[in-house]
């Protein structure tokens, strides 16, 4: 029974720590489906994290209210900041034809610097460190389901989460439906697979690439919001994203470009990254244990590359810019 409780609590923690991963992975899947391999997710999450926190904090300061209004401001700010970062990437790679890999890496460096810079400025302004009020923190903590949460096992597994967990799930499901069941989704996939053909069929390649990269960036920004408002409880930490953006890119490969598979993949990876706190392995130093998610990523990368299947492959044009005149 005790073992069961440990495992159930572990799954609960896995879902919580997998949520930012799921949001960022969904965003990156959307981006890559348009043929843009954006390696800047880490930076985008950082930008979303600081924008969300700053949005909530400033709303609290200016209007003197806590709770739902700062929450809305935080979501809007994080999403918009993510969109801006995606837009920067799109302008550079789609319109100005810059190398996708280098642009993405630069975005990662820039985003991290951007967030730390404004995070520290904000901390100085707030006198030491930024922290949102108790009421705002409250709306980012677990939703009160009342009696439902007290059902043994099921309560812990399904009803002890903050709203972002359910939001991320809904986003992933909507994205899966959009990509596979709608005409626009089909067009987007066509753009990612073969932009030349899509262009001939009358699809506006540039518009699709811009839209997917921008909204995908917005989702990554929300993933960052999750890191700063939920994982760090609304306190600014200069290292708050700590590699989750890179894990998200790896997760896209693990989930084979499917938002629905991203749901359980992100829970597995979330579980791996909190495993050292939940399930101690005797004799294994904690510091070595903390390497697990990264080692698992490498193993996953190797395994997926060994059993490459046509069906579950990266969109064919990912990583390459589309030059209309060279069609």
């Amino acid at each position: 029974m005790k073992v069961l409780m440990v495992i159930i609590n572990w799954i609960n923690a896995a879902v919580l720590s997998g949520t930012p991963l799921l949001l960022a992975t969904s965003g990156e899947i959307l981006t890559e489906k348009s043929g843009n391999l954006n390696l800047g997710v880490e930076g985008q999450m950082y930008m979303g994290a600081i924008a969300g926190l700053a949005g909530a904090w400033f709303t609290e300061q200016w209007f003197g209210v806590g709770g739902i209004i700062p929450l809305i401001a935080a979501v809007i700010f994080a999403f918009l900041m993510g969109c801006i970062s995606g837009l920067i990437y799109a302008v550079l790679t789609v319109s100005l034809r810059a190398n996708q890999n280098v642009t993405g890496l630069t975005l990662a460096i820039f985003g991290t610097g951007f967030a730390r810079f404004f995070g520290e400025v904000l901390s100085n302004k707030a006198g030491g460190f930024v922290a949102v009020g108790r009421e705002t923190k409250g709306v980012f903590s677990n939703i009160d389901f009342g009696k439902l949460a007290e059902i043994p096992v099921i309560g812990t597994l399904f009803f002890r989460y903050n709203w972002l967990v359910y939001f991320a799930l809904i986003i992933a499901i909507i994205l899966g439906w959009f990509l596979n069941r709608t005409r626009k989704g089909l067009s987007l996939r066509a753009v990612g697979e073969n932009p030349g053909t899509a262009d001939s069929a009358g699809i506006n390649v540039t518009r699709y690439k811009y839209a997917a990269t921008t909204i995908g960036g917005g989702l990554c920004g929300l993933g960052g919001l999750c890191m700063s408002m939920v994982s760090q409880k609304g306190v600014w930490q200069p290292n708050c994203v700590s590699g989750y953006g890179w894990l998200a890119i790896a997760l896209v490969i693990f989930a084979t470009w499917s938002p629905l598979r991203a749901i359980y993949s992100s829970i597995i990876f979330g579980g791996l990254s909190v495993m050292y706190m939940r399930i101690p392995i005797p004799g294994l130093p904690r510091e070595i244990y903390m390497m697990f998610p990264y080692m698992a990523t490498i193993i996953v990368l190797i395994l997926t590359s060994i059993r490459q299947s046509k069906e579950h492959a990266q969109p064919a044009s990912t990583g390459y810019n589309y030059y209309r005149e060279e069609r």
Binding site: L96, N101, T103, T106, I109, T112
Partner: protein, 402 residues
């Protein structure tokens, strides 16, 4: 019969029917507001102008961000210059930051030239640093028995092997199964960092009188044997760095290996068709790339820090990517660029203390500059033609025809 006749008549008549001009047949389409056109010849002067404009724009955007947080950008930029090269000590510190940057950008430059996205220089540096720290710790724990010169030789060899191993792993899997090297090298970074954290927790690596998770200062425990000598106020790593840049330039442009690297980078199929062993070329280059980064690890341990921490690499692996790309992978150009980026970093530390501007402004500016330089490439290769200038483009077409 009649049908045929009609056909014939029609066929015969056709040339006589006055054809409407081809333009009118097409649906009416507005000329786009802006369209782009490839430039034929690009002059050096044009290139220089575009780059300088891009650089100024990047600084302007940076200035806007500084203004947004209520700081005077002009004073900030001036202080950054003063703080990085104003005094002799400051200059020495700037050069000290530039050393690992330069060597690491040469290292990643090798891989990038092959379109092998090695972003694991951070991990490779740490792997080298860990490997040579093992030697130091071994010597210390056995009565400090290795003399100075052999100690350094063994350290260098171990660092090279350590870095090369971390370069080899992703290259092996990439060539064997096409495993994504970007994420592989990146994950190795985190593993290396975590491993250093683990070493810090070991009793045998800590100070005997302290339980704080920190690795001992190698210099005091080896009577300074581990320290590299200094020249002009900086450890002699800068000489190595310059030598490496020169050798790398000739390696890339004047040797068979360098030629193979650029062919593999331009087109893998061409390389295969020409009978090159692409697997070996990639693995070999990554061994070199990793070993160079490992050497940086040695320099950080023996020259800069005299100890090992999880920040021994300190983001150099990432910053080196921007340096390499800004220099267009040319090792000679990497020298001034790495000094410039080092200047940003040193200068940002200075304005952090004088103006309370966070030091992360260096990363912000580095990112901005690279963004604008990436954008510049487009304006070098293409020109924009606006809608109104129809006549001009006609004239140009005439020129081309002539």
């Amino acid at each position: 019969m009649t049908d045929q006749k009609i056909n014939k008549v029609n066929a015969k008549d056709q040339p006589d029917i006055p054809c409407p001009p081809a333009q009118d047949m097409r649906p009416v389409m507005k000329e786009p507001l802006v369209r782009m056109k490839k430039r034929g010849v690009v002059t050096t002067r044009h290139k220089a102008i575009v780059y300088i404009l891009g650089f100024i724009l990047a600084l302007l955007v940076g200035a806007l961000m500084l203004l947004a947080v209520g700081k005077n950008p002009i004073i900030a930029y001036r202080d950054m210059a003063v703080g990085s090269f104003g005094t002799k000590i400051a200059s020495a510190e700037t050069v000290r930051i530039a050393i690992p940057l330069l060597i690491t950008s040469v290292a990643v430059g090798f891989a990038f030239k092959m379109k092998f996205w090695n972003i694991g220089a951070e991990g490779q540096i740490l792997a080298g640093a860990v490997a040579c720290s093992y030697i130091v710790i071994h010597s210390i724990n056995n009565g400090n028995y290795i003399p100075r010169l052999p100690l350094h030789l063994i350290m260098v060899i171990c660092a090279l092997i350590g870095g090369a191993l971390f370069g080899f792993l992703p290259a092996f899997f990439k060539t064997k199964w096409g495993t994504n090297e970007t994420l592989f090298t990146l994950m190795l970074n985190y593993i290396a960092i975590q491993y250093v954290v683990y070493l810090q927790s070991l009793r045998t690596w800590q100070h005997p009188d302290s339980s704080y998770p920190k690795i001992i200062d190698f210099s005091t425990f080896t009577d300074g044997k581990v320290e590299l000598p200094r020249l002009f106020g900086v450890h002699i790593g800068w000489i190595f760095a310059l030598i490496i840049a020169v050798i790398a330039y000739f390696y890339l442009t004047r040797t068979k290996h360098g030629f193979e690297i650029s062919v593999v980078g331009d087109s893998m199929n061409t390389a295969r068709y020409a009978g090159m062993n692409t697997t070996w070329i990639q693995i070999r280059t990554l061994l070199v790339s990793g070993a160079l980064a490992g050497f940086v690890g040695y320099l950080q341990v023996a020259g800069a820090n005299h100890t090992l921490t999880e920040t021994s690499a300190g983001g150099v692996g990432f910053t080196a990517i921007t340096v390499a790309w800004l220099a267009k992978l040319n090792p000679f150009v990497m020298v001034p660029i790495s000094i410039f980026i080092a200047m940003l970093q040193k200068g940002s530390l200075f304005i952090q203390s004088t103006m309370r501007i966070p030091a992360s402004v260096a990363d912000l500016l580095t990112g901005l500059i690279l963004f604008f330089m990436l954008g510049c490439e487009f304006f070098i290769e293409y020109k924009l033609v606006f809608r109104g200038k129809r006549n001009v483009s006609h004239l140009e077409q005439k020129e081309v025809a002539e």
